[in-house]
Symmetry: C2
Subunit: 338 residues, 2 copies
């Protein structure tokens, strides 16, 4: 059998939790590079929570994936064939080629990677979009000052882990929340957070209060749900809340049961002069060169560490993605495509 291009199409819009049935695998002929194009062989596919939003028809900052189209996603790929002056076979690039094993590109949005500097998979994690999300959201919006308390959930994941480690570099206290003792141990022992909490503990809210004796100055919001409820009463006057994700509610379908928490939120926004700021990393693109420079140095110095969770084969992508929305990954989730 000749090798073919394995593609994962979105063929149904999930209501609530996605199902493997929302995806369809197809095999098509591997295309050839036209004039000005490169053929990419995908090596690694990044799986990220934002993809849940792309599966919905709801209006967002990015267009939905159309039904019948290849699922979107960031990838690390090798140039197989090039009719583009800037690329040659063997080049390793960061691309946005989606859930498939081959893709054509005219070079738009490609970035050459230097495999000698760092493992190429880091371009999907700590040195890529998740790392930059942490960097921009924490430093530009959260603005932690020395001695302040920064709280972040999903602290074993690529965004949360990076938020906490940068907070510590800036002299703040990092309090991390994760699910289960294994993840908590990683956050505490490997990433060096000042305090680590298991959100599955029945005493989680009290544990958080005890871990934040001076209250919370920055809450980097990437999950929502019950973590928010525990964080909210601990927020200090002038606390900053960069909002980059709400993974705990991505699979929820409204309307949501009462009581209505909005009036209480707004009351505290007012009386504590809180700042709540949603963002997507690309609005801070001009800071990306500084990020690459600083993060590469922090990695080289061992001041920032990371953990990857690499699953094998594109066939595993739907189940791995669905599991990630429920916290079943352990570190930055990446699919090794080939």
């Amino acid at each position: 059998m000749t090798e073919q291009n394995l593609q994962v199409l979105l063929t149904a819009r999930p209501v609530g939790r996605p199902s493997p049935d929302d995806f369809t695998f197809v095999r098509t002929a591997i295309p050839s590079a036209g004039e000005g194009q490169v053929l990419l062989g995908i090596r690694y596919l990044s799986l990220d929570p934002y993809m849940r939003g792309r599966m919905s028809a709801a209006k967002s900052y990015a267009a939905s994936v159309e039904i019948g189209q290849v699922m979107e996603g960031g990838t690390v790929a090798e140039v197989i064939e090039s009719r583009h002056p800037e690329y040659k076979p063997g080049d390793i690039v960061l691309s946005y080629s989606g859930w498939q094993s081959y893709a054509l590109s005219d070079g738009t949005g490609l970035r050459k990677l230097a495999p000698g500097q760092a493992p190429v998979t880091t371009a999907l994690g700590v040195l890529g979009m998740p790392g930059f999300t942490a960097y921009a959201g924490l430093l530009l919006l959260g603005q932690p000052k020395p001695g302040e308390t920064v709280v972040v959930a999903a602290a074993s994941g690529p965004v949360g882990a990076t938020v906490g480690q940068i907070a510590r570099i800036k002299g703040a206290r990092a309090v991390g929340i994760a699910g289960g003792p294994e993840k908590c141990a990683l956050v505490r022992d490997e990433f060096g957070f000042d305090a680590t909490l298991d959100h599955r503990s029945p005493s989680f809210a009290e544990d958080l209060r005890a871990a934040c004796p001076d209250g919370i100055d920055v809450y980097f919001e990437n999950v929502g749900g019950k973590v928010w409820d525990a964080v909210f009463p601990l927020l200090n006057t002038f606390a900053r809340i960069p909002v980059c994700g709400l993974v705990a509610q991505y699979n929820s379908t409204g309307p949501f049961e009462g009581p209505d928490r909005l009036p209480v939120l707004m009351r505290d926004v007012l009386t504590k002069s809180l700042t709540i700021r949603g963002f997507i990393q690309r609005e801070f693109s001009e800071h990306r060169p500084a990020f690459y420079r600083e993060m590469a140095q922090w990695l080289a110095e061992g001041r920032v560490k990371y953990k990857e969770d690499i699953v094998q084969g594109l066939e595993s992508a739907p189940e791995a993605f669905i599991g990630m929305l429920e916290g079943r990954n352990f570190g930055k989730l990446i699919v090794q495509v080939a």
Copy 2:
């Protein structure tokens, strides 16, 4: 009968809507100025929504008024007797002397007014705390750009009216919301808003949508309640929401009935990169000199107008205050004390 000091004490903490019974009038001897003090004769007392918060025991940015103490409030007063080197009898000052007819001061927080420049009552309104709240919240947090749409409620009140007029000076479209045809006419004809809406209209939400064909870029939040519900779906990407008040919910007692609007709020914070920022004007004190300078000029040029609602006698203060929380005032509410 010798003249006495009429004082209004807070003698009960209201649950929900304040009642006249929460206040007690007492008459005490008029004090004499000690060394370094002035005796102030209060001429005007400002009534403002924030005072509802001071009546509660709940923690806020400011301490509660203690039970049995004189209600707090900004005043315009005349120096009656002075043993302070910087003040002489006849001086008119802005003070924070509370709900009473006489008060002693050691000079802390006093500001001399120049009665020739503007009516002294403006120091309690457009040239005072409400005007500075509008100025700082709109310009420093709302940051309206030319052509953008700025929405504000309580638009016939001292904060809302000023927000809309400054928005227009900065080249933005001002959409004002008020209660009833008389207030709407003032907002439209006198304050020159681009569009004016009556929140009592049964078609209010649709009216607002029609008045904001390009969506809402800045919503200056001073009321909350159903105005928020109408504004929320119209917010544009990167909309800014300075929160300076929530008068529609000050008298509410939780818990609030569902559905829970918090998850929907946070979803839009995320997908629209919204900024929600509570504030109190005094955090921007360093901008006050610029405010006095600019606002005095705008007033002199007729580019900013204002309306005052002056009630007679300190005896009227409780009823006037309670009515203000329900929108029954018409312009900046001031009590002429003497």
